[in-house]
Amino acid sequence: MGDSATTAMAIGDGNALTVALIVILAFAATSVLALALGRRPAGRPLVYGASAAIAAAGFACGLAALFDAPAARVLPLGLPLIGAHVRLDTLSAFFILVVNLGGVAASLYAIGYGRHEHSPERVQPFFPAFLGAMNLVLVAGDAYTFLFGWELMSLASWAMVVAHDKAADNLRAGFIYIVMATFGTLMLMLAFALLAGSSGAYAFADMAGRPHGALVPAVVLALALVGAGSKAGLVPLHVWLPLAHPAAPSHVSALMSGVMTKVAVYGFIRIVFDLAGPPAWWWGIPVLAAGGITATLGVLQAMLQADIKRVLAFSTIENIGIIFVGLGLALAFKGNGLEAAGALALTAGLFHALNHALFKSLLFFGAGAVLDATGTGDLEKLGGLIHRMPTTSVVMLVGAAAISALPPLNGFASEWLTFQAILLSPELAPWGLKLLVPAVGALLALAAALAAACFVRLYGIGFLGRARSDAAAGAHEVDRWSRGAMIGLATLCVLAGILPGPVIDTLQPVVAPLIGARMPMQSDVAWLSIIPVGESRSSYNGLLVFIFIVISAGLAALLIHRFASRALRRAPAWDCGFPSSDPATQYTASSFAQPIRRVFATGLFRAREQVTLPPPGDLSPARIRLTEDDPAWRLIYTPIGQAVGTLSERANALHHLTIRQYLGIVFAALILLLLVLAIWP
């Protein structure tokens, strides 16, 4: 606790809620200010500076509220029947912390990065609005306020997705995004409808206590999974995500991927863990299955992408899958009376949510830096950036290692906890879970390994090797602000990785009310280790591993340089004796992916390779064409699109009738109704 506890005292009881509301208001005001400033150059530092400051306040407020008693208030706004309920409990507080942390980083990054925005008036007004809307979702205490913020969040981010509207792809991305977002909102609306009942008990406080039949919570679970899942990017509701996240400016992509998906996770937790009542034994099953499938398919597709931001977007899907595996386990444990294990699983999920916010924002910042420096995000055109962008390449390396779940970084810490939770699951009695959990564990492990492959590819192709285009060769390091933001996030990744204990402890006030149990206190464990269950079961000490690695590497370097050789000679690359000066001879992103593509994607994504070889004597280059399709599109969205197309085609016939035929319709309607009357009992 330490410092954070004293901060909590400083802000005081329930005042954090007031601060949170002021934060939201301030975001709104900044948004209006940005609108007024338009294209003026002063707008950028002003808007992003203000956003950073406000988000910092929000962060502090979240931190404070984490150790505070829940506070609630009713404002005379929003839904007139009940007013706007706002409340701040530890769950909200944690996510406020995450959101505003990402907000601070993105705002700072944007102070520099935004300089290259050619239409700032299409981004700046929506940026603070986006942050404000996410905060609003988190403090919402009734269904209307929640969905209001939720949809506003989609809307603001949509506006930024279509900010660069001259590219047709962005418009398409925006369209798919906003439709899917609204679909999700409607699903949540239905979930809330069931919880609120016909009397209109829309306030969360009233929902939680309402008795329900057996079926209602189950339907709520399904709706929440679909509604929040579509926002978070669960397969097969993920299709918008890899289109929309990359389309936005990079600092917005970072927020969308790193932060907004967390708001979706919050929505799921709020509805399922808090409002829907005690879980049934099987609730974990759909969540686990969705999480496992999402994690694996997400990262597999990430592996196949050539665009750096699309890689990151698909990787977001993977991480959402990991988070949902944690949540699913927590539900399974709680539903089967294993609260302690549930606390571990939920902690793992939340920890991973925090981690993902950190490293995914970092990676998107890096991608933005690359985009800014080279003008392209196409991996096939990059290479060798480590020479031209020293800082960016270091922080990207940290981010890549963290997201690949490599110890001693933070990604590993949370995945380790998830694995520990899986190892507790033999205690679960139901057969369905017994069969599912190991399979999900395998999927998760597969996802982790593929993630490493994916980020080796991203980093190795993008940053290492030789430049594959003039743009990459002429890249330059990005500005101070951007570097600062990236360095800050990279530092946090390392810190959260080597000191997982304090993070876990901080999460316990969030977990305890939701699960009814908490993990053992980690601060009491010697050497800052973490011991999630019992000492003899498992423990991990990131700090020590980190120190060991540093010492070993340092020692090795020292000894070798001291006692062996320190001579170094630069020479042309050896390459088995046939070095080629042409960077085009390097492995490309698609050739790197080829083995995994062949192994995993041939069946699942119908990945095909088509090689066209010119006839002998023809000097034109050979071509390879790679195709794959997402089964979600093939099986779900394309048919839906076609169905709507057919429906509109059919319905449209009604637009071209003659007056007589229209009269005929009226006449038919009349006759029909009269017939109904005639046969009415």
Binding site: H656, L663, F667, L670, L675, L677, A678
Partner: protein, 225 residues
């Protein structure tokens, strides 16, 4: 108010006249040529006038005579004459353009009359039986008028169908005991307006398209690309 001397007589005559209107409606469905149609329509207007006048007498509602006069003057005389001229001027008096053959149309018409009767059946006996029967016939006339509008391609016959429909309305209104005068005047008023506007449009339509076939208008429908 003294009791009518022959209550059944009142009933029978009203019944007869209303029934006659239904019959005329069916006749109109049967007509192929425009001139004949207009004549039958005029006949229906006369029947309507008689029916309304009978109601005026039966209900001791003298204001209904006004309606009767309006009916006979406008629909019996003025409009048929005008329509004849229009048809002559447009040179379409020989045109027969039905969308549905006469046989099925007649069958449908008879079905509609049956439907109107069935629908009126559950109306409880507490209601004025006179009104009830009248209503059933009025409803039949309304439905037959609509049927005519639906099965005819020609604008003039559509107008006639529409006015036949209005005849049904007036029959119903006149049958409703004590229905305030306001309504009848309004009815007449709106029929007048309706006719004027239709006339205006017909004029324009002829001017622009040289035809009054409604289907021809559809070629100019915006939004069809």
């Amino acid at each position: 108010m003294p009791q009518p001397i022959f209550p059944h007589l009142v009933f029978d005559v009203a019944h007869l006249l209303a029934g006659a209107m239904v019959l005329i409606s069916l006749m109109m469905l049967y007509q192929g040529r425009l001139n004949a149609l207009i004549k039958v329509f005029a006949l229906q207007a006369v029947a309507l006038a008689a029916s309304v006048a009978w109601q005026a007498q039966a209900q001791h509602a003298p204001h209904l005579y006004v309606t009767a006069v309006i009916a006979i003057a406008f629909k019996g005389v003025v409009i048929p004459v005008a329509l004849h001229r229009m048809v002559a001027r447009l040179g379409i008096h020989r045109q027969v353009e039905t969308a549905l053959a006469t046989g099925p149309t007649m069958l449908a018409g008879i079905g509609l009359v049956a439907l109107a009767l069935v629908v009126m059946l559950p109306v409880t006996a507490t209601s004025d039986p006179l009104a009830r029967e009248d209503l059933a016939f009025a409803l039949s006339v309304v439905l037959l008028g609509l049927l005519m509008m639906v099965t005819r391609r020609n604008a003039v016959s559509q107008i006639i169908g529409f006015m036949s429909l209005e005849n049904g309305l007036i029959l119903a209104a006149a049958g409703a005991r004590g229905m305030p005068l306001v309504v009848e005047i309004s009815v007449a008023f709106s029929v007048l307006i309706a006719f004027i506007v239709i006339g205006v449009f017909l004029f324009r339509i002829r001017e622009r398209f040289d035809t009054v076939d409604v289907d021809a208008l559809d070629r100019f429908r915006g939004g069809r690309a």
